[in-house]
C-alpha cells in the first residue's frame, strides 16, 4: 500500500512540472493543442515506465559500489564504484530505450506509432526522464517502487500538460497584454496551477487503519474535485 501512497504523491504532490520544473521545454512548446499534448504525454508515461526500472537495474547491478564485483566475481573489481558514469550511462539507456520503443511500436501498432511517432525522438532529451531516474537513485527506491514512481510521475506530467493545453486553447479568447502573450502568460498560468496543487501537499494515505483510510480517501476525492473545479473555472 506504500506503493499507492507513493503513486499518489508523485502524481499530485511532487508533480514533475509543478514541484520540480522537469520537462518544462516540451511542456511549454507542445501545449498549444490538447490532442498533441495528450500524444506527447502518453509517450512520456510510456518511456518513463520503461526507463526508470531499467536504470534501476543498471544502477543496482553495475554502477553501485561492489555491484560489478558481485556480478562477475573478478577480484579486480572489488570495492570499485562506477557511479561517476551514472549520467552518461543513464542518458545512453534513455536514448536507446526511446529508439527501441519507437521500433517496437512501429512494428506492432502502426496506429499508435502514427500518433506518437514524432514525439518519441523528442523525449530522449526531455529532462523529466533523466530527472526521474536521478531522483530514483537519490531516494533509494526498490525495483517495485521505481516502477510505480516512473509510471505515476509520467501520469502527473501528462495531467499537467493536458490541463495547460486545455487552458491555452481557451486563451485565444482572452485579451492578454502584448509582452505577456505566449511564454509569459503560460508561466503565470503554470504558477497558478501549481498553487492549486500545493493545496494537496499534506496528504498521506495511511492504510494501517482501514476506517481512517476511507476518510482520507474521501477528503482526497473532494480536494481533487475542488481542484478540477477551480481549473475548469479558469
Amino acid at each position: 500500500m506504500d506503493l499507492l501512497n507513493l503513486g499518489i504523491r508523485s502524481v499530485f504532490i511532487e508533480n514533475m512540472v509543478f514541484a520540480y520544473f522537469l520537462g518544462m521545454c516540451s511542456y511549454l512548446a507542445v501545449s498549444k493543442k490538447v490532442s498533441t499534448a495528450t500524444g506527447l504525454g502518453i509517450a512520456v508515461v510510456f518511456v518513463l515506465t520503461i526507463t526508470v526500472p531499467t536504470n534501476w537495474l543498471l544502477q543496482e547491478l553495475i554502477l553501485k559500489e561492489n555491484a560489478l564485483y558481485e556480478l562477475t566475481g573478478l577480484a579486480v573489481l572489488k570495492g570499485q564504484s562506477f557511479e561517476f558514469l551514472q549520467f552518461i550511462m543513464f542518458i545512453a539507456v534513455i536514448a536507446s530505450m526511446v529508439q527501441l520503443v519507437e521500433m517496437v511500436v512501429e512494428k506492432f501498432s502502426p496506429a499508435l506509432y502514427g500518433a506518437l511517432g514524432i514525439f518519441l525522438p523528442l523525449i530522449a532529451v526531455n529532462c523529466a526522464i533523466l530527472g526521474a531516474s536521478l531522483f530514483m537513485v537519490q531516494r533509494e527506491y526498490s525495483l517495485a517502487e521505481a516502477t510505480v514512481y516512473g509510471f505515476s510521475s509520467g501520469i502527473g506530467w501528462l495531467l499537467a500538460i493536458v490541463a495547460l493545453a486545455a487552458i491555452r486553447e481557451r486563451m485565444k479568447y482572452s485579451n492578454v497584454p502584448d509582452g505577456m502573450k505566449g511564454l509569459g502568460i503560460t508561466m503565470v498560468i503554470t504558477g497558478l496551477m501549481g498553487m492549486a496543487l500545493l493545496g494537496l501537499s499534506g496528504i498521506k494515505l495511511d492504510f494501517s487503519k482501514e476506517k481512517k483510510s476511507k476518510e482520507t480517501a474521501q477528503v482526497e476525492t473532494t480536494v481533487q474535485q475542488n481542484t478540477a473545479l477551480t481549473e475548469l473555472k479558469k
Binding site: F21, G23, A124, C127, G179, K181, G184, G191
Partner: protein, 227 residues
C-alpha cells in the same frame, strides 16, 4: 591556402595579416551581446527552463549553477566545433550528448570534491544540465557549422544570457521569500527587521510567476510579440 601560394610574400606584400579577423571584431561581439537581450535563450527562445527554475530559490546555488552551465556550454561548443567535420550526421545527437555528459560529469565531480554543501543543494539538477535544451540547441544550431573561436564566443553569450535571467529570478525569490541575499539578511541590515517573508516565493509557484513577470518586462522592452 591556394591564395597564399599564388601570392608569394614580398617586401611590398606582407603576409596575409589583414585577412584574419580581430579576436573580438564587431561580428563576433554580436555573438556575445545578442543572446543577452535581443535573443535571450530563456525569455525569447524558450529553452533551458527546466533547470532555470529549480535551483533559483537562493542566490548561492543559482550562481554555481550559472557558472556550471557557462562552463559546459563553452567547452561543449568548442569540442563539437573542433570535431564538426568528423562527426557523421546520422549519429550527431548521441555524439553531442556524450560530449555534454562528459563535461557535466567533470562539473559534478569537482562540485562534490570542493563544494559539497552546494552540490547537496543542487542535488540532481547538476545532472540535468545534460538535458538542458540550451546546450543541445547551441551545439546543433551553431557549433556544428562554425569555427572553434566563434563557437566559444557564441557559447559564452548564450551562457551569460541564461545566467542573468536565473540570477534575476533568484534575486527576487530570495529577497522576498527569505529576506536575504546570498544568505545576508538584507531587511535587518537596513533596519526593517519585521519585514514579513512571502512563503509562496520559496515554493515553485513563486519561480513561475517571477519568471513570467521578468519575461513580460523584457519582451515589452524589446517589443517582441508572440502569436
Amino acid at each position: 591556402m591556394s591564395e597564399k601560394e599564388n601570392n608569394p610574400v614580398t617586401e611590398q606584400n606582407p603576409p596575409l595579416k589583414k585577412e584574419s579577423e580581430p579576436l573580438l571584431s564587431k561580428r563576433r561581439k554580436k555573438f556575445i551581446s545578442d543572446p543577452l537581450v535581443d535573443d535571450n535563450p530563456i525569455t525569447l527562445q524558450v529553452l533551458g527552463i527546466c533547470s532555470a527554475l529549480a535551483v533559483t530559490s537562493q542566490l548561492e546555488p543559482t550562481f554555481v549553477m550559472a557558472v556550471a552551465v557557462i562552463f559546459v556550454i563553452v567547452f561543449s561548443n568548442l569540442i563539437t566545433s573542433l570535431l564538426r567535420n568528423m562527426i557523421p550526421t546520422r549519429i550527431r545527437i548521441i555524439t553531442q550528448l556524450a560530449i555534454i555528459a562528459t563535461l557535466v560529469i567533470l562539473v559534478d565531480q569537482v562540485l562534490r570534491a570542493y563544494f559539497f554543501d552546494v552540490s547537496k543543494l543542487l542535488s540532481v539538477f547538476v545532472g540535468l544540465i545534460i538535458t538542458n535544451c540550451i546546450v543541445m540547441g547551441r551545439l546543433e544550431a551553431f557549433a556544428m557549422g562554425n569555427k572553434p573561436w566563434d563557437s566559444v564566443l557564441d557559447g559564452l553569450g548564450s551562457g551569460l544570457g541564461y545566467s542573468w535571467v536565473i540570477l534575476a529570478v533568484a534575486f527576487f525569490r530570495e529577497l522576498l521569500g527569505s529576506g536575504s541575499l546570498f544568505g545576508f539578511k538584507v531587511w535587518e541590515a537596513i533596519g526593517l527587521g519585521g519585514m514579513p517573508n512571502n512563503g509562496l516565493m520559496v515554493t515553485s509557484v513563486g519561480a513561475f510567476i517571477v519568471l513570467g513577470l521578468i519575461i513580460w518586462v523584457q519582451r515589452s522592452r524589446t517589443g517582441y510579440v508572440e502569436h
